[in-house]
């Protein structure tokens, strides 16, 4: 099952334009200035959809759609965002009473705009059900895509189109999700695939995702072992986005971490990043003596550098072992800067050869102390494609090598 990169790009663009259309409708109705920040396609575990939504109350609207493409779509916003919207829509009125119907109406108009673009491009009609009001804490608000009848585990992972919408005046969380049924989307992508030259075996992306998950677990184990802090791998996913949207994958807060360039199949860049507080906490857990400083000292950064090195190896070793190849990487370079500024030189270097990029994102965290780490990999697209071609599905679990078998 192969899909060419161009059609992935086209589908991403459709989702982006649909989201822009939807956002423009909203701006027109409410007078609120907003813009679509990022649109990306992500292959993710069903359980992890919407994982970035924190434990706040979210509301929204969802639809089922069917036709040449079928699935579900949802518009999701945090509570304060919905209040602002309904206020803008029904000024002076008892907005609270009208909140639900206000959100529903905005959602209805926005989502029609979103779906229409797809129908036009596909030269078909896509029908959608009436909107349903949804409400929930964090990711619970997101509808689960329908489970396929008599399904095997292949649909445990889904392609999700996610657009993040940004308001100019306020910091609010506002998203458009599209969750097509896996088979419906892949059938459609294959129909629209025109060349075999740059085709990517998308079924193997799922295997690759599993491999990444093992890599993240290994990296998390390494952190636990070094620091004594029980660390859990949280999410592993692979996304596809325009190269200029890649730096936006990381927030613009300050991050501390390491970056390496890796060579082999595939080549690319790998980042291990901690927010400043996490960096400080994990470094202190590593250091033999107590440090009395609120700032990040050289001792902290030396510890972070080595931790980044070991997490990097934990992460890429699995790829090498599954692919029966070796992946070399440069010594880690320590970074401490704005998140986006860290990623943009890497995206630019990759962007010299490609218009879109795959981004592999993983996250780990712990309940013990305030600690969260992110791993991001930015592989060369063509080489990732070759690696996937080489990837033997049955080796997917062979991520660990045992030196004792070789050194006797």
């Amino acid at each position: 099952m192969k899909v060419d990169i161009q059609s992935l790009g086209t589908f991403n663009q459709l989702a982006h334009e649909g989201a822009q259309q939807a956002t423009a409708s909203m701006a027109q109705m409410t007078g609120i200035d907003a813009a679509v920040d990022v649109t990306k396609i992500t292959l993710v575990d069903r359980d992890d959809i919407g994982e970035h939504l924190d434990d706040r109350n979210f509301v929204g609207v969802q639809f089922d759609f069917e036709g040449e493409l079928s699935g579900q779509t949802a518009l999701v916003m945090d509570q304060s965002c919905s209040e602002t919207l309904t206020d803008a829509l029904l000024p002076g009125d008892s907005a609270a009473d009208m909140a639900e119907s206000g959100v529903k109406e905005i959602g209805n108009i926005m989502m029609s705009g979103f779906i229409d673009g797809w129908a036009d491009y596909l030269e078909t009609t896509i029908d959608h059900s009436p909107p349903t009001y949804i409400e929930g804490i964090g990711r619970d608000v997101i509808p689960d895509s329908k489970t396929v009848e008599g399904d095997d585990d292949s649909a445990d992972q889904l392609f999700v189109f996610k657009s993040q919408i940004e308001w100019l005046e306020e910091s609010v969380d506002f998203y458009i999700y599209m969750l097509p049924d896996y088979d419906s989307l892949t059938d459609l992508m294959m129909t629209h695939a025109d060349t075999a030259g740059d085709a990517i075996p998308i079924d193997k992306l799922q295997v690759f995702n599993r491999m990444t998950e093992r890599g993240t677990e290994k990296a998390a184990d390494n952190v636990s072992m070094m620091t004594g802090i029980e660390t859990e791998a949280e999410v592993s996913q692979i996304s596809f986005a325009r190269i200029e949207d890649v730096p936006k994958q990381i927030g613009n807060a300050q991050y501390v971490g390491t970056v390496v360039e890796f060579t082999g199949l595939p080549s690319g860049f790998l980042l291990v990043l901690f927010d400043e507080q996490s960096a400080k906490n994990v470094a202190e857990a590593l250091m033999p003596t107590d440090v009395d400083s609120d700032e990040l000292t050289d001792q902290h950064t030396a510890a972070i550098e080595e931790l980044g090195n070991i997490m990097t190896s934990g992460f890429v070793d699995g790829w090498a072992n599954v692919l029966e190849t070796s992946v070399d990487h440069t010594p880690p370079r320590l970074v401490h800067d704005m998140g986006q500024a860290i990623l943009d030189p890497l995206a630019a270097q990759v962007g010299q050869h490609q218009e879109h990029a795959f981004i592999i994102d993983s996250r780990m965290q712990t309940d013990d102390i305030e600690f969260e780490a992110e791993i991001h990999a930015l592989p060369n697209e063509q080489e990732l494609r070759e690696a996937l071609d080489e990837l033997m599905v049955e080796r997917a679990e062979e991520t660990e090598a045992d030196p004792d078998e070789l050194f006797q």
Binding site: P345, G351, Q352
Partner: protein
């Protein structure tokens, strides 16, 4: 790609703030503040025509459009500057009166082995393109190994450069 144009609806009481994303540009004639954040090897090019009070900002990512396929002119240093200047002219600015200030183009995380990093090449192409158009670069803060965020004030024409762990500079 121009994502939105806030200049259509202006609230006279507050200074409008326009956010320019990566590979985007925007132009204002009403003294708005144009901002862009998280520049690594990317470059922010701020162009101003004092006489008509027009300001524009573009956030470019790669040196030259002909090196890569891809339709978005604002992504590249050469076509990005050209597009911004054309848009400035469209709102009434005169190329002969334009001046430019640039910031960004850091060499952080440059893994290239030949030493010609993207940040430096971005800066070269931006300057060459501006020179071909006879637009002088009156001030700049480029290179180094740190990220930057920019705030281009339409009222004064000042370009404020903020870096992590450093005091901000006003160009």
């Amino acid at each position: 790609m121009k994502v939105y144009n806030g200049s259509e609806q202006t609230d006279a009481s507050t200074t409008e703030r326009i956010k320019v994303g990566i590979a985007e540009y925007d132009v204002s004639t009403n003294g708005a503040v144009l901002t862009t954040s998280g520049l690594g090897s990317c470059i922010g090019v701020a162009v101003r025509d004092e006489a008509v009070g027009a300001s524009g900002l573009v956030h470019v990512m790669l040196p030259a459009a002909d090196e890569v396929d891809g339709g978005n002119p604002a992504k590249f240093a050469d076509t990005g500057v050209e597009t911004l200047v054309a848009e400035m002219e469209r709102v009434g600015a005169d190329r002969a009166d334009m001046i430019a200030k640039i910031a960004g183009g850091s060499d952080m995380l440059d893994f290239s082995k030949d030493g010609s990093g993207i940040g430096a090449r971005n800066a070269d192409v931006v300057k060459e393109t501006l020179e071909e158009m006879d637009i002088p670069v009156v001030n700049e803060d480029v290179g180094g190994d740190h990220g930057r965020s920019l705030r281009f004030e339409g009222s004064s024409g000042d370009l404020v450069v903020k870096s992590a762990n450093m005091d901000s500079r006003r160009l």
